[in-house]
């Protein structure tokens, strides 16, 4: 049997499948790419051809315009395509809308490139599906045991409680435009919050993509066209960089919040001068990472990016063969 790296290896452009002659989530333009999800560090423009789920292609188009790739091919979860005899299927990754694991099968071996993923329920995308494999390629964004995230509903409840306690202040929540924003909106709706939510322009564009893909978000309005209303007692969603900067001045005594897995660590929240840190992540936390590896029991674990030292140590303690691929260029957008 050929070795695993005939099916997948690391190159300067990122992960490459020699047998099928295509890349997965390349960090530079290539001839043929398979894209796991729409975050900018994984989905770049300028590839010759792109294979991805329909929502991922829609997200890329919204981000980069019509001509973001030469040719595109939309596949649904579970639908197999062949590339030079390599069977390629996409399985849900539970990370953001359209996110997929890439399952590569060839000559009796299976490698799963999970992209970014999480195991928790997310009301904006289908849940992660574990696929038995010989090699599992995992992220390790939160690959330390200090990252064990609380229930998302608890974090939403804390936000709503604070809105009740400080009706004179605008709650300005920093969120990543793709995924986190829409998930938080859905979580707020599920918690019974029916009021209009106010959006920074960068987030509104992504909301439109989600709505077009059938994710209901409830009443939304632009944060900056409120006719001089400084939106006291309202919730405004904005990219993290905007919440403590000039843009925030227009609001009523703004209360800066930030929804991110990094908010688990107090120093991170203080550095950003966040008053309400919400621990809400679209990545797997420590338990999800280690539970997934325990469940799949692959022959080898390859770690693409994040805190690999912690996960490598865990693998050693648990008798799993693991190695770090040290792919640079991932984790830039959603850290």
């Amino acid at each position: 049997m050929p070795s695993f790296d005939s099916l997948l290896r690391r190159t300067a452009e990122g992960l490459y499948c020699p047998a099928g002659d295509f890349h997965v989530d390349p960090v530079r333009p290539v001839a043929r790419a398979v894209i796991t999800h729409g975050h900018a560090d994984h989905a770049r423009s300028g590839h010759g051809s792109v294979l991805a789920t329909a929502p991922t292609l829609a997200i890329m188009q919204a981000r980069y315009g019509e001509s973001f790739a030469g040719v595109t091919e939309a596949v649904s979860y579970g639908q197999a395509v062949s590339r030079n005899g390599v069977r390629v299927t996409l399985a849900p990754a539970g990370h953001v809308l359209g996110s997929a694991q890439v399952v590569l099968s060839w000559n009796g071996m299976t490698i799963v490139v999970s992209g970014d993923y999480k195991r928790r329920r997310d009301p904006t995308c289908p849940p992660f599906v574990p696929v038995p494999c010989d090699v599992f390629v995992t992220e390790a964004t939160f690959g330390l045991p200090v990252f064990r995230f609380p229930d998302a509903a608890d974090e939403t409840a804390r936000l709503l409680k604070s809105v009740g306690q400080f009706p004179g202040r605008t709650h300005l929540v920093g969120v990543y435009a793709l995924g986190k924003a829409q998930r938080l909106i859905r979580l707020l709706r599920q918690a019974g919050y029916g009021d209009t939510l106010y959006m920074h322009g960068a987030i509104a564009a992504m909301n439109a993509v989600y709505q077009a893909q059938g994710v209901p978000l409830g009443p939304l309005a632009p944060a900056t066209e409120s006719g001089g209303d400084r939106l006291p007692g309202r919730i405004v969603l904005a990219p993290p960089s905007a919440i403590a900067d000039k843009w925030a001045r227009r609001f009523a005594d703004p209360l800066p919040a930030f929804a991110s897995g990094w908010m688990q660590v107090r120093a991170r929240a203080r550095q950003r001068q966040v008053e309400l840190p919400l621990v809400l992540s679209d990545h797997a936390d420590w338990n999800e990472l280690t539970d997934t590896l325990t469940e799949l029991k692959p022959q080898e674990v390859w770690i693409t990016h994040g805190d690999e030292d912690g996960l490598l140590r865990w693998a050693t303690l648990n008798g799993l063969a693991a190695r770090a691929l040290e792919i640079s260029g991932y984790g830039d957008e959603d850290d």
């Binding site: 330390l144 045991p145 200090v146 990252f147 064990r148 609380p150 804390r158 604070s162 306690q165 400080f166 300005l172 403590a244 900067d245 000039k246 843009w247 925030a248 001045r249 005594d253 703004p254 209360l255 800066p256 688990q264 660590v265 107090r266 120093a267 929240a269 203080r270 550095q271 950003r272 001068q273 966040v274 008053e275 309400l276 840190p277 805190d307 030292d309 912690g310 140590r313 865990w314 303690l317």
Partner: protein, 547 residues
Amino acid sequence: MHAFARLLDQLAFTPARNAKLILLRDYLAGAPDPERGWALASLTGALRFETAKAGFIRKAAEARLDPQLFALSYDFVGDLAETVALIWPASPDTGSEPELPEVVEMLRNASRRQVQQLLEGWLDAIADATGRWALLKLLTGGLRVGVSARLAKQALALLGGVKIHDIEDVWHSQEPPYADLFAWLEGRSGRPSALTPGRFRPVMLAQAIDGQPDPPTGDFARYDAADYAAEWKWDGIRVQAVSEKGVRRLYSRTGEDVAPAFPDVVAALDFDGVLDGELLIFRDGHARPFGDLQQRLNRKTADAKLMAQYPAGIRAYDLLVERGQDIRHLPFRDRRERLVSFVTSLRNPRIDLSPLQPFADWAMLAQLRGRPPDGDPQVAEGLMLKRWDSPYEAGRPRGPWFKWKRDPHLVDAVLMYAQRGHGKRSGFYSDYTFGVWRRDANGDLMLTPVGKAYFGFTDEELKRLDKFVRDNTVERFGPVRAVRADRDFGLVLEVAFEGLQRSSRHKSGIAMRFPRINRIRWDKPAREADELGGLERMLDATDRRSG
């Protein structure tokens, strides 16, 4: 534990006082007795566990966790208690989550060995990291969530719809978990008795005087000089010295007992009554500058060497209780008369009288303030004016007492760093670190930071300052920006301050008291800002004058 943990967590991230008040009030309104009482006690520093030490936390972690994973985690998080709280492999099925009163009760009675076991058991039983973090904070006593005893009392006042003096009046007769206090604040019972010997009496404070003395405008025109007595405003900390029925206390003006740090002063309270005065360091019968007192503040105890080097005493302003008789309702004139004979009869070098300064009119007083005579008045903060007919009333009423501070010192400094503000100042660079020129080892003039100021400017000026910071940023460190500041370019800030102290913690060797932006000198070239030598000479001069 859950609600208390959430409260601590929120307080730690909330910088604004008013927001903290709301968080405290809401918690106190919602939490049951006796939990909220213990929470209050821990927030006001009334709760200490002698047996609990940070070493237990490390020991617990080492016993349970893989050392390599722990080291990686600690390295990332940077705080031991927080790392342990986050990483602890809780197993909530091992027992029910402990409630705060139970934790307090058990810790109070536990031996050191028992504490270690209790700690690990509780860490196992608390399901969320915030709860475990709060437990560890409580255990080591370092809550550090920015709540003073004063703020906690303010929250109680807010909860009960009463004045803070009402809280202070009864506070010292109450013990954790304060069941009577809450019952009163919630209208379920009457006001608890405040008649405990050694209790704190809410302090009377002065308003800053308004207007000009010559020709008189503002308060000087409104009030007649003949109605007022004047004395120096000494530059120490205001204290209330209580000695009743064998109970001796030394309260700060907010009612915190500072007695443990000043055993020398407490030993001198050989009387029956309540004195209002200024806590000062005395040497050869003379008051020392504030910096000397600073050496003894914020300490839990004082050793013999420190007390010999910085002997403390009280300069008396007023007499509130004389041998069991409350005389606060008497006019200042009568109280003063009694104070003089009271203090004279003590014959104790650690307790002297703040002398009155006779004056004919406001203009004459202005001269006195501008040119204080040699000796102790040189280190005074300014003057105090007290109406002869004023009773001693809690709070800061307008009219009976005024403070008339000396003009502040000024220095021209250069803006070096700026940090973003909070709340209404979100998004503005509103906290400014400034420096003055100092010659380095090569003889070149370099800026050295001497202080930080975040008020003294208008909203319009803030916008302009913010723009300056953004346009001239040379480096960023998190929320802080370094701005261009060199011999050829920089923004000069005229900074007002109340005094200087020597400080080994600051690179410049100097710490400023109460610095604020007096004027923004958009016109002044950076190279013309002041040099450190000027500030050092000011410090030397203060030492000489008062020494």
